[in-house]
Structure formats: C-alpha cells, structure tokens
Amino acid sequence: MKVTTEQYRRVAAREMADEYTKSFLRLLPARLAERRKTAFTDFSDPAAARAAGAAIRAGALENLPQLLATFEKNAKAAGARVFWARDAAAANRYIVDTARENGISGVTKGKSMITEELGLNEALAENGIRAWETDLGEFITQLLACPPFHIVGPALNIPVARISEIFLEKGLISRPEHDPVQLGLAARRFLREKFRHLEMGITGVNLAVADSGTLINVENEGNIRLSKSRPRIQVAVMSLEKVVADMPDAMHLIRLLCRSCTGQQVSAYVSMDTGPRKDDEIDGPEQLHIVILDNGRTRIYEDPVTRQALRCIRCGACLNACPVYGQIGGYPYGWAYSGPMGQVLSPLLLGFARTRDLFSACTLCGKCRDVCPVGIDHPGLMLYYRNRDAVGDPDFRGTGAPRPEKAVYGAYAIIAGHPLLWRVFGAMARRAINCYARGNTIGKGPGVLKGWFALRDLPAPPSRSFRDQWKRRHPAPHAARPASGRKQP
C-alpha cells in the first residue's frame, strides 16, 4: 500500500475538521476500551496476566535466533517450505513466483498487516494475479482504495451509503442497500465464489510456535480458515519476531490478544497449522509455504532499546487508549499501522525522514503503555526517537535538529552554565515575556513562539525572580549560610 506518513499534519487537520469522523471517534475507541477492560476481569490478576505477556514476548525476543532455527526445523519436518526474505521485494518475488509456477491467476488473502507492509497486492497485480481481500473491512477498503481506519475494523468508519455505492458499481448488489447486514451478506456471496474455486490462499501469522513448528491465526469471520483450508497452496507470511517458545506461551498470548483487541474471551476461530495436509486428507493445502520476513527487523533488534517494539502482537489496544488517535482516527498515520503502534513501528521500518511527525505528535501521557498487554513503553520509545533524530543518528536516518534550533539550545546551554549570564538573561526574558501578558496569563507570543502558544497558555512570571524575592526577605541569614554549612561534618 502507498505510504503517506509524511502527510500526517495535512491529513490530521482534514480529519479533525470532518464532522463524520469526529462523531465516529466519540464512540468507537471508548467502546472498545470498555470492552477490553471488562474482558480482563476474567483473569484472577489482570496486572500479572499482562506482566506475564510482557515476559513471554521479551523472553522470546532474547532467544529469537534459537527459536527461529527451532521453528524452521520443526515446520520443515512437518512438510512446510520455509523461505527467508530479506526485504519486501524478495518476499513479493517469492510469492509471485510460487503463484506463477502453479499457474495461479487469482488468490484470496486473509487480513494481514504484514502483506500491507509488503505492498503484496500491488506486486501481484503487476504480475497479472488478482488478489482479493476477504476480511469484510479489508475488502471494503480494497474496493475504495483507502487506508485502514482502525486495525480491528479497517472500514468501520465508512458510511453505509458509500459502501452501497461501491458495491453497486462493482456489481455486488443490483439496487442501493443501506442495511449493514445485507451489505455484509452481499460480500459473503461475492467472496464465497472466490473461495469455492480457490487455488491459492495468502495469510499472515499471529504467532509461530517454535517447539512444534506451528502457525497460529486468530480471526472472527472464517476467511482465514477458508483461505487455508480450500486451496492446494497456502502461503503464510510472518515477520521474524512472531515466534514464541511453546504452546502454553501461545495460549496465554491468545487470551491477552483477543481480550485486548475486541474484548472477546477468544475470537470465533483460532486455527493452528503444523505443516501442510497429510497425503490422505481430502482438503487442506498440499503445499505450505512459510515466508519469514526481515524487512529491517534485524536492525530494530540490534538496538536493545528499539528491540521492545518487536514485542507487539497487533491487538490495537493502544489505539483505543490514545487521546491523539481519538481526535484524528487512523488515516493520518499513513500506513498499515496506526495509533501508538504505528508511531512506534513506522519510524523504525520507514526511517525518520518520512515519519518525523508521527513520533512528534505524542503527548507522552502513557495511556498506551498502561494498556499494552506485552509491556511496550511507547512514550519511552518516542522520546528515544526524538533524541536519535535530534543528534542525527544515521542508523535511523535522523537528520539532526534544524540549525536555528541547535543555535538556540547551544546559546541556552552557555547561559544556563554561567550564573551571571543566567541572571541577566533571566531579567531580560522576564521583561520581554511579560510584554505579552494579559492579566496573569500569556496567550500569544512573537515569531516562532506563535505556534507554541496556538494551543497553550503560560502563567505570567512575577516581576521578581525567586532568588530576588528570597534575598529581600532573608538578607542576613542568606549571606551567613554557606560559611556555617561548610563547618558541618
């Protein structure tokens, strides 16, 4: 999919002015957050359940190379073919080649963020292979060619009238239809024909279990199970961090994932594949291809600070908790990952040059961190990105702070390091700032400060500094204190 992360400000401003988006955002995140909270009460100790999730993911990452090697060995022993892809181009080429070698002209896809990251649909289309998104929300966004609004429901915000229009245009319905259920059933009828004759299905992977070589998918609609069960060829694309040690670890993460995502105890379907079908089975894939994707993740892994971003299990709880997402929705984030999840992942995967606004647009309130079931410290990471960007770290394609900003902070460092300069500067700044005071508050500033004051007020500083006032009230003891202080043991 097209990356538009650099248009964050423009799209955010547009979305904030959109009455429809606003009314929608007043309901959706709060409702999902509430459902999540209720679902967590099943755990005898919800905080311990989340801490265990964090420990499982952190532990899996520390053992990542071993777990990946074990996973590969066991998946191959079960009959799967494993392909390691350095980047999106290599992964797409492998999938296109697999389709071509088998004479495939159309595929279905289960909802997967990773294939959106790859731009797989476009790569398939360029090679004359039609890819159908089969998750209802993804199907609608595919027809409308719009980015996902929310990870749980990519098209949740699309008005029925617009869905009716596009379904009419594509021939799914013959007259306008404004009932969501009828629209869903029209999509069912349309996609059922694709499943019925399907030869190749492509899915993502929620978890990979090392000690059995098993792939796990979590879904509600059944489109992933159909994409895995009907065709002769199944392709599963997993980013390399998806692996966990064993089935009990996977089971705990599934409990956390479903509750954090939709507030369900478990989704309607959890399906777990160990190799392709056996020779004597009448359905299931004859070929199971597993693509293990790096696409920049080894670099994310090498930095012990950013490594924690790879814990993410894509539940979307952070979106619902985020006050910024709650104002602007999913479109401004400009890629497969939105909300705090996108603010943390996209800069690492795309580089800072195109994503600077994403990690700047954070108030550091920490609500995302508080709900994260795997213990990711999103605000900490965003501060780290800001720092790496300001110093111009080439690993992150950071450009360094702009020259005027550097000059200002350089001068400030000199002033703050010399008491006399500090006093003079303080007195001058106080006077200058107070020129803009109205009563006890300052609501606007000159030049570059205009932007800062656009959304904030500053209490007006008093006419004398704290040091001045202290001196006036305690003239004598102040002078004597340093001497007596030194005498103490």
């Binding site: 892809a85 969501p180 309607a268």
Partner: protein
C-alpha cells in the same frame, strides 16, 4: 556459494547485545480448571450459548439417529455431509441416522477427490456433521483436530455446523486440550478452536453471524 539470507539474519540476531528479561510472574490457569465435571460442562454450555451456539443434550433412552433428525428438522437442515472421525464413530453417528428418510447424509469418504468434495460442501450441503475432540469451558470453545476422517471444510463451508461432543471431553483450559493433542503419536496438520458462528461487525460496528463460515453452530452433547 555466498552466505544465505537465512544465515545472515541469524548471525546478526545472535551477535546483537543481550538484554536481561524480567522474571515471569506466575499466572494461574483459568478458574474453570478447578471445576468438577458437571460444573465444567455447565460453564462450557453457558459460554457457548453466549456466542449464540445451540446446545442439545443426548437422552440416552432415545435413538441417537432419531435425535439428530429432530435437531436437523428444527433448523431446516436436510442435506448433511459427515466426517467419520473417532469421536463421531463412537457416538454411533452418522450410521444411526443413515436410514432416516427426511435426511440426506453423505460422508466425506464417499468423495473421490478434493474438488468434488469442495463442490459438495460449498454448494450442496446444508450442514456439516463432525465430532469435536474437546470442549473448553474457559471460553465455550470447541477444539477440532483435523485428519483423514475429519475434513476442515465440514465445519466451515456449509451454512451450519453440528458437532458431537462427548461429555467427558469437556476440559477447563486450552492448555489441557492442547497437551492431550500434542501428546498424540501422529500430530494433526491443523487444529482449530471454534467459538460460536462466523461473525463480523466490520460495517458500522453492526454485528452479525455467518460472515464467511457457518451462521449457525450446534453442539450435541453425548
């Protein structure tokens, strides 16, 4: 030959600096693991019903084939494709229902190849009939392990799924079912947890059942 992408990736991961991991706090298995058998079954049924699953209990005094026919009549099911997995076979189904005139039952063994079978489950059958290897009380889930006698599409392509679940196969937590299945000599190529009908709420958050999979799911406890 140059170093493979696989090896390059693994070497880079191995060379990365290690980080200490916080100790994992103990997490108790779900409380359903502590329930007595009948309470466990009750919890399973309650959860399954919450997801709009429909539960029937076998009356041992009655013929199981007749009961199945009655269930099918109630839900307008005539054409059934059945697996012949060990759970189903132990219950006496589908054989016990074979002679019943109002039902048309075919078993998956009767299909020559996957295309013919797929056509039947997509276009002919009203329902798929299978055994369920386990029921899980913590979430009201069925655990289905697929093999040569239990095809994947039976519980997926037809509009309804009827699962026969033995009462002594209801466990408290996923881990218990997975441990049993993982210990088997031949591991299934796919296992699925099924919790209620296929569902979605992707248009305006309006939930409905039967998006791609069955809109109706029925458990027959035996």
């Amino acid at each position: 030959m140059s170093v493979s992408v696989r090896d390059q990736i693994l070497v880079r991961l191995r060379q990365a600096p290690a980080r200490a991991v916080a100790e994992r706090p103990p997490v108790a298995l779900p409380k359903e693991t502590g329930l007595a058998r009948d309470d466990r079954i009750e919890a399973f049924c309650a959860r399954f019903a919450e997801q709009t699953g429909i539960v029937y209990h076998r009356d041992p005094a009655r013929d199981i084939g007749e009961t199945l026919a009655e269930i099918c009549r109630e839900h307008g099911i005539i054409r059934v494709i059945s697996g012949f997995d060990s759970v189903l076979a132990a219950s006496g189904l589908p054989d016990a229902a074979m002679g019943i005139p109002e039902l048309e039952i075919r078993t998956q063994a009767g299909f020559a190849d996957r295309e013919e079978f797929a056509e039947a489950v997509f276009a002919w059958a009203d329902a798929g009939l299978t055994g369920a290897d386990y029921g899980v009380a913590e979430s009201g889930s069925l655990v289905l392990a697929f093999d040569r006698n239990h095809a994947r599409l039976l519980s997926l392509a037809p509009g309804a799924h009827i699962a026969v679940l033995p009462r002594d196969r209801v466990v408290g937590a996923y881990e218990q079912a997975m441990a049993e299945l993982g210990g088997a000599r031949e591991k299934p190529s796919q296992i699925a947890f099924v919790t209620g009908p296929s569902m979605t709420a992707d248009i305006q958050g309006m939930p409905f059942k039967g998006m791609h999979g069955p809109g109706k799911i029925i458990v027959f406890l035996v």
